[in-house]
Symmetry: C2
Subunit: 465 residues, 2 copies
C-alpha cells in the first residue's frame, strides 16, 4: 500500500494526471504529518533545553521568546541532568523524569502510589514491548496471547524472538470487547499444544479496533491473567484518546490494585498479578511520534527481573534524551497558575475535541456505506469498519492474487489517493474483511475525504454486484 502510494506521489510530482491531486495518509497514527500542531509549551522547553546558555547570555531576548515557566522547567531539568541532554543518561532514564511519570501515574489512578524505580523510559513504546517480550521468550514453546485483530508490533516481535503467538479473538459484534470464555478457549488450546503461555497482550483503547474496555471486562481479564499466572502486557498508549462518554478510561494497574492483586506499596513482590503498562509520547494530544519517547511501568516483579531488564536496556546505553524530556512534559504539563497553563489547556482541548468530532464523523460515514458496518469509535486514533464484499469482488481479488480487503484498499488508493490498511494486516476472523483508517485527516479536509471514499465505495460495489 505505502509503496504504491509513494509511486502515486512520484507521478503527481512529475505532473502526471491522476484522479486526485494529493495523497491522504490514513494508514498510520502520525498526527503531526497530518497538520496536528504540537503543544507550544512542550516545544518551547524542547527548544530552549538544546541551547540553554542563552538564558544567562541573552536573558532579555530569552524572556521575550519564552514564558517564565518554560525557562524554569529547563533550569529544573538541567539541574538534575548531569552533562545536559548531550550526555548518556541512566539506562532506566533520567531520574527526575521518572519521578514526573510516577507522580502522573499516581494522580491518574486516584492516589495509588507509584515509584520511579518501577519506571523505564524507552524510545517510544515499541522498544519497551520488545524488551519485555524478548525477556520472556526462550524458544518456540514460549507463547504470548495476542488479540485478533492486533497491532503488528506484537506478531512481528514474537516471530522475531522465535516464540509462538496464541490468538484470541475480540468480539466485533459486542464492540470488540473481550470475552473471558474466548480467553479460556484460547489458552486451553495452547496448553493442548504443550505451549507455555507466559503473557497476554491487551491493547486498550484498541488498535486497530478503536474500542475501549469496560471496567467489568478489565476485572475479568485481570483475574484471568492472575489465575493462569500470565504477565499482563497492557498497551495503554491511547489512554488520552477517549471519545466515548459511556465510561472513563481506567488503567489496568488501578483495576488490579482494587482487586488486591497488586500491592502498590510493595510492587517488587508478585501479589497475584505481574503487570507491565506501556505509554508513549506519540499519541494522545502530544502526538510527538518522531521523538521516540515512551515509558513502561513494572508491577509485581522482583528485583531480579528488574535487573535483567536494566541490563538489557544498558546494552544500548539509554533511550534518547529528547524523547525522555517529552515524556516529562507529557506527564507533567503546565499546572493552574503557571503562565503557560491557559494556552496549554486550549491547545489540548482543541486537539481532543476535534479528534472526537472526527472519530464520530468517520464512524457515521462508514456506517452509511452499503455493506459496511463500523463499531463505535470509542477511543484511540482509528476506525476499523467491516466490509461485506460482493462475491465478484472476492473472485476478482483472487484472480489478481490479492487478499480481498487488500484488493479493496488498493482500488480505494488508486481512485482517491486515500491510504488505509487492509484488515489482513492486523488479523481478522476468516471470511471477514476490514480496513483501518485513522481519524487524523485535518477537520477542514474530512468532508472531502468522506465524500471521495463514499463515491469510490458506491462505484466499487456497483462494479462487482
Amino acid at each position: 500500500m505505502v509503496l504504491r502510494a509513494m509511486q502515486h506521489m512520484e507521478r503527481i510530482k512529475k505532473g502526471e494526471k491522476l484522479p486526485f491531486n494529493s495523497l491522504i495518509f490514513c494508514n498510520i497514527g502520525n498526527p503531526q504529518e497530518l497538520q496536528q500542531q504540537p503543544i507550544t509549551f512542550f516545544r518551547q522547553v524542547a527548544a530552549l533545553i538544546n541551547y540553554p546558555q542563552i538564558i544567562t547570555e541573552q536573558p532579555e531576548l530569552v524572556k521575550q521568546l519564552y514564558p517564565s515557566d518554560v525557562i524554569e522547567r529547563v533550569q529544573k531539568y538541567l539541574a538534575r541532568i548531569p552533562g545536559g541532554i548531550g550526555a548518556y543518561t541512566h539506562s532506566q532514564g533520567i531520574e527526575c523524569i521518572r519521578e514526573e511519570v510516577a507522580h502522573y501515574i499516581s494522580t491518574r489512578d486516584g492516589g495509588i502510589p507509584a515509584s520511579s524505580s518501577d519506571i523505564f523510559l524507552t524510545d517510544g513504546a515499541s522498544p519497551g514491548v520488545q524488551a519485555t517480550l524478548k525477556s520472556m521468550i526462550r524458544d518456540h514453546n514460549d507463547a504470548v496471547m495476542v488479540p485478533i485483530p492486533q497491532y503488528p508490533l506484537y506478531s512481528a516481535s514474537i516471530a522475531l524472538f522465535g516464540g509462538t503467538m496464541v490468538n484470541y479473538y475480540l468480539e466485533e459484534a459486542n464492540n470488540w470487547s473481550l470475552n473471558v470464555h474466548e480467553l479460556e478457549r484460547s489458552i486451553q488450546q495452547a496448553k493442548k499444544q504443550n505451549l507455555t503461555v507466559r503473557a497476554i497482550v491487551i491493547i486498550n483503547p484498541g488498535n486497530p479496533t478503536g474500542n475501549t474496555l469496560s471496567e467489568t471486562n478489565m476485572k475479568d481479564i485481570v483475574k484471568f491473567a492472575s489465575k493462569h499466572n500470565l504477565v499482563l502486557l497492557a498497551d495503554e498508549v491511547y489512554q488520552e484518546n477517549i471519545w466515548t462518554n459511556k465510561h472513563p478510561w481506567v488503567s489496568f494497574k488501578k483495576v488490579a490494585v482494587e482487586l488486591g492483586l497488586i500491592d502498590p506499596k510493595d510492587t517488587h513482590t508478585n501479589k497475584g498479578l505481574q503487570l507491565i503498562s506501556f505509554h508513549s509520547t506519540s499519541k494522545g494530544y502530544t502526538g510527538e511520534c518522531g521523538r521516540r519517547g515512551g515509558y513502561m511501568e513494572l508491577c509485581g516483579f522482583d528485583e531480579g527481573v528488574r535487573l535483567e531488564l536494566y541490563k538489557l536496556a544498558s546494552i544500548s546505553l539509554c533511550s534518547n534524551t529528547a524523547g525522555q524530556i517529552m515524556v516529562g512534559l507529557m506527564t507533567n504539563p503546565p499546572k493552574p497558575g503557571d503562565f503557560s497553563y491557559k494556552l496549554y489547556i486550549q491547545e489540548r482541548d482543541n486537539i481532543l475535541s476535534s479528534l472526537k468530532r472526527r472519530a464520530q464523523k468517520l464512524e457515521n460515514a462508514f456506517n452509511k456505506l452499503e455493506g459496511v458496518s463500523c463499531q463505535p469509535a470509542e477511543g484511540a486514533l482509528y476506525a476499523f469498519p467491516q466490509i461485506t464484499l460482493p462475491v465478484k469482488a472476492v473472485e476478482a481479488a483472487k484472480k489478481a492474487g490479492k487478499a480481498p480487503d487488500a484488493f479493496y484498499c488498493l482500488a480505494l488508493l488508486d481512485a482517491t489517493g486515500i491510504v488505509v490498511v487492509p484488515g489482513s494486516g492486523f488479523g481478522q476472523r476468516d471470511g471477514t474483511f476490514h480496513f483501518r483508517s485513522t481519524i487524523l485527516p485535518p477537520e477542514h479536509l474530512l468532508d472531502g475525504v468522506i465524500s471521495r471514499m463514499s463515491t469510490f465505495h458506491a462505484q466499487f460495489m456497483k462494479q462487482y454486484k
Copy 2:
C-alpha cells in the same frame, strides 16, 4: 564499580568524610558529562528546529539569537521533513539527512561514490549493530568473530540472540594490531567446532584499546573476510578521534574499494566483500551521546537483505528525529564562507587538540607507574594499560572473591574516587590484567587525576609487595 561509585556519591552528599570530594567517571565515553562543550552550531539548529514558528512570528528576535546559516539549515530541513520533527520518519531515516551522510562518506573516502539508499539512520550505533547481528544469527551454530579485548555490546548482543562468539586476540605487544595468522587460527578452531562463522567485528580506532590500524593491516583483514565469506562489521565510531601522526585514518570501505572487493557503483551486488560500517554522534568532537544518533552503511548486499533490515527497522517505526538531525549536522557541518564556520572550526579543533594532549599525557603517566605498561593511545577515547599485579594482590583478590583487576579498580575507586573499568569487562589474555580509562577528565583536572592515581598505585604496590 558504578554501583559502588553511586554509593560513594550518596555518602558525600550526606556529608560523610571520604578520601576525596568528588567522583571522576573515567568508566564511560560520555564527554559532555565531563564538561566537553557541545558544538554551538549543532545546538542552535537543534533548538530552533523544535520551535521553528518563531522564524516567521518573531523574525527580529530570531536574527538576534541565531546566525543566518542556522536559520537556513532549519528551513532546509523542514522543507524536506513532512510534518516536522514530531512526525514519524521513513524507517530508514529522513532522506535529506541520508543524502548528507552519503555526501560525507564520499568526501571522506576521496570521492568514492556513496548512496543514500545504502544508509540506515539508527538510535546511536548500538541498535544498528544489534539489528545486523540479529539478522545473521539463526541459532547457536551461527558465530561471529569478535576481537579480545572487545566492547561488550558485541558479546552481550551475540549472547542475547543465541549465537556463538568466536574470540580472536589482538596483539598487545604490537600496539593491539590484528594478526591475520591469529584470525586464521580462530576461524579454523571455530570450523572444527562445526560453527558457521558469518561475520567478523573490527573496531577501529579500538575500544577499549585506543589503537588505530595501519592500512596494510586493514588490507589483510579485508582479504581475510572476503576469502572466508564473512560480513565485515566495521565499528568506526571513533573515526574522528585520531591522535597518532603515523598514519591517517582510512575507512574499511575505501580499502575494500581499492582492493576491488566493493564496487561503489554497484553496491547491491557482492563483489567480494559484504561490509557494514557504523558511525555515531556520540563520539568524535560531536560528543552528543544522549541524542542516540547514528548510521550504518551497507555495501555488497542485495536488495533482499536491505529489505529485511528495513522491515526490522520498521517494527519500531523509525529512529528518533533529534538523533537524525544530529547525524545530519555532524556529517554536514558549516562550510568555509558560512557565518558559523569560524566558530565551528575553533570549537572542533579545541576539542580535538585537547583530547590529543590528554591522551598523550595519560599514556605517559600510565607508563611511569611501577609494573604498568600502556600501548600508544593512538585514537578513540581510551587508554588500556596492562598492570602486572603482585602475587599477594592476586591472592588478596581471590580471598575477596574478585577478579584481580576488579580488585585493583575497586581499591582505586575507594581511595581516589576515580572510576575505571577492569580489563575483565572487555576480555583479555588469561593471566594478564588491564583497566580501561577514558581520556575525558577535563584538562584542568587531569594533573590532579594523574597524581591521585599515581599515589594510589604506589601505595597499592607497596602494600602487596
